[in-house]
Symmetry: C2
Subunit: 135 residues, 2 copies
């Protein structure tokens, strides 16, 4: 545990050292986290970790994402190297999205976080309820 805290101080300095560079992208950790961090990115990575999906399948799998955000999020995930996009020359051309090796590697810690969320959502919900009740 102590070792983690020492390492953390290093990370804090990474965070901090880059902030006076005035450019958000100058801090690699924040930059990468930001790419994973989007509203829909974790959900899509979770889906694609199961198996490759086509565009329309993803749209049906996640009905409350707008087509615009689906396109955009997949594009960002592809740009960051997490997702591979392949077009098949079928009669209506179909497009398949799948995780790359990098994406599968990133999925491991992401999955830990999602697992934590599933195990602890009750506690979070209670915390929110009692916080809101105090007001």
């Amino acid at each position: 545990m102590d070792g983690k805290i020492v390492n953390l101080k290093t990370k804090l300095e990474i965070y901090k050292a880059m902030t006076d560079g005035a450019n958000f992208a100058d801090c690699p950790v924040r930059d990468v986290i930001h790419g994973i961090n989007g509203k829909w990115s974790p959900l899509l990575v979770m889906a694609l970790a199961e198996k490759p999906y086509r565009f329309g399948e993803l749209r049906r799998l996640v009905p409350d994402i707008s087509q615009r955000m689906l396109t955009q999020t997949l594009h960002e995930l592809q740009r960051d190297g997490y997702v591979h996009r392949e077009v098949f020359p079928t009669k209506p051309p179909s497009v398949e999205y799948s995780l790359t090796d990098l994406g599968r590697s990133m999925f491991v810690p992401l999955y830990q976080l999602v697992q934590w969320a599933e195990l602890n959502h009750e506690a979070v919900r209670e915390a929110r309820a009692s916080f809101d009740a105090r007001i």
Copy 2:
């Protein structure tokens, strides 16, 4: 690995089953992830995992956050039960923020993800560069 995928399918159904409820907050996993997922939340949790900080200290530690977003993010983290806010009756009243047990528990998987980001930011940067070059 196979076990993970089976569990994942369960999670996908959690994601999916709640979407036709039309309410974003109906899916507990997405709801919790959304709370962790903010632009500044991971950074502040990382900072507070090291040691408690006062408001002004955090502001100086993270110079490129606006005071408004610092207030707001800390408030959300407090509401979700990750952060404890304590006011000390000094002459100018000082406010200290610290992680709760829930926050420290959440920090564990979050730290894994940040660690991954630090180890792989080079790969992500290269992926971006080659993607942008292809256009």
